[in-house]
């Protein structure tokens, strides 16, 4: 039985500006992921990857179709789905006024990690991302890469059955990237864990059991990297060649960065006080 099952999924964002009719971010998408798989979810900017993940994580209600994780429906059984999953978000999601340790400790609390285990588990993930000596620093003072590392540590803390990684390695140096993958692979061999990964790094995609390429909310290709190469090109081709061949050469509009919003907000907050 597949651990993730998506059938005819549709997500339409309601139009907000100037009476626009709404935007279909995910358009009749169907696929499934097997337990224990490392599944690559690829696509150009704005293809609908984060939107799909948000539906699977119960943060967004789909407009049509259905999505199941670990046998539970993402809408009707959201509570059970949440018990099975973990996620490393693409956008920042730390509490920057807390220390690294506090961020992890609070995560451990809401994921019901037994108090006896909390300390050792937090220590080991902090070790993994090389932040052990900064555990008591306020996160606001971290560099961008350090914040990212902390988010990765947090996502791996509670050892979920299904882990969603939404561009986990953006902004990371090669050392950290390698360490993170080592940790993830050791996690995979010691625990039964399914990984659902979006990434723009093709060498990370090459390591996946299967990859799905999505564009404009629609499935473009699905299969093992070797299979895709054989099907669309030659075995010597890189996944990047295939990706560009299938999704075209033009550059996609980047959605407005959430970091700009954050900056504006901070300014307001200062003025208000």
């Amino acid at each position: 039985m597949p651990i993730i099952e998506v059938e005819h999924l549709i997500k339409r964002y309601s139009g907000t500006v100037s009476g626009s009719a709404g935007f279909t971010a995910v358009d009749d998408l169907s696929f499934s992921v097997e337990p224990g798989e490392l599944f690559g979810f690829l696509g150009p900017n704005g293809a609908g990857k984060t939107t799909t993940i948000s539906v699977l994580c119960t943060l967004l209600a789909p407009t049509g179709g259905s999505a199941q994780v670990a046998g539970f429906d993402c809408v009707r059984e959201s509570r059970q789905v949440r018990e099975q999953i973990g996620i490393i978000f693409q956008d920042p999601s730390l509490d920057e006024r807390l220390t690294a340790w506090e961020n992890l400790r609070f995560h451990a609390m809401i994921y019901h990690i037994p108090p006896r285990e909390r300390r050792t588990r937090i220590e080991s993930v902090l070790e993994m991302v090389d932040l052990a000596d900064r555990r008591n620093s306020i996160v606001k003072k971290f560099s961008g890469g350090m914040k990212r590392r902390l988010e990765i540590a947090r996502g791996l803390l509670h050892r979920p059955k299904v882990l969603f990684l939404d561009e986990p390695t953006i902004g990371l140096d090669p050392q950290t990237r390698r360490k993170m993958w080592e940790f993830v692979h050791s996690l995979r061999s010691n625990h039964q864990i399914t990984l659902f990964l979006t990434t723009h790094y093709m060498e990370e995609a090459e390591a996946c059991d299967r990859v799905l390429i999505i564009d404009h909310g629609k499935l473009v290709a699905l299969g093992a990297p070797q299979e895709l190469k054989a099907r669309y090109s030659s075995p010597e081709a890189t996944l990047e060649d295939i990706f560009i061949q299938l999704t075209g050469h033009e550059i996609r509009e980047e959605p407005a960065g959430s970091r700009d919003v954050t900056r504006t907000l901070r300014r307001w907050s200062r003025n208000l006080r």
Partner: protein, 249 residues
């Protein structure tokens, strides 16, 4: 339904953030100073006495209410903050019931708000209001109850707001009327009927009445009525806040 660990986490987090937020602590001190100075000494000098009490004694419970209401809303509004900075996602995706999240938020907001209320107590020696320890201890649970009512109301509003810009509007059209029309700053005995009606519909009228009863023994309504209104509003607003929370994505 009740997830103790989740409630604990939300409560602890807000308390830690409070102790690190110097601006907030400063606000907690500055607000009563301003009101006590300007209203208490300024208005009081031309107002004289209210019934048998001095004006300062009269508005003292009102200033406590002001700090409670203001801090509660500020605390509840941090939900919008958490949404903009992304931390809300971390909470919403966790395997904890929304009900517990809302209860935790109400409890933590009320606690922080109670601390803001306690700050006002520090001014007791300066304004010649005679209070016994017993009176102060009796006031604490009542203050928490008032804080709980306004925090729940604040959460309810925050869940429906999409940007922080709205806070100014909330402050002007919710906090200030709630405060001014609770009998906190001036007695409503001689006010026009429509004002009296509004003040009767304002839950904080009953909270201020209770505090005033504890501090000076002068009350407008019965203790039973005051308490039932407050408990009823606490339960009602919390219920609505939970519902709003469940609908939010």
């Amino acid at each position: 339904m009740i997830d103790i660990a989740a409630i604990q986490m939300i409560w602890l987090r807000d308390l830690i953030r409070f102790t690190r937020d110097r601006a907030q602590i400063l606000g907690a001190i500055a607000r009563p100073v301003l009101w006590l100075l300007i209203m208490g000494f300024g208005l009081g000098s031309s107002f004289g006495r209210v019934g048998e009490t001095s004006y300062l004694e009269f508005i003292f419970p009102g200033i406590i209410a002001l700090n409670l209401i203001f801090a509660s809303f500020l605390s509840a509004i941090s939900i919008i903050w958490d949404r903009e900075f992304g931390f809300l996602k971390e909470i919403l995706v966790a395997p904890i019931p929304r009900f517990s999240i809302a209860v935790g938020k109400a409890a933590s907001g009320s606690t922080v708000s109670l601390l803001h209320g306690l700050v006002v107590m520090l001014f007791i020696p300066l304004i010649h209001v005679q209070l016994t320890l017993g009176q102060i201890l009796l006031a604490l649970p009542l203050m928490y109850l008032m804080a709980f009512v306004s925090t729940s109301l604040g959460i309810l509003i925050a869940c429906r707001m999409t940007s922080f810009e709205g806070f100014g509007t909330i402050a002007n059209f919710v906090i200030m009327p709630l405060f001014l029309l609770s009998g906190a700053v001036f007695p409503l005995d001689n006010a026009p009927v429509w004002l009296k009606i509004i003040s009767r519909l304002n839950p904080f009228t009953y909270g201020v009445d209770l505090l005033r009863g504890v501090f000076s023994g002068v009350m407008h309504y019965s203790v039973a009525l005051d308490l039932s209104v407050l408990f009823f509003c606490a339960a009602g607003f919390l219920g609505l806040a939970v519902m709003a929370f469940e609908k939010m994505d």
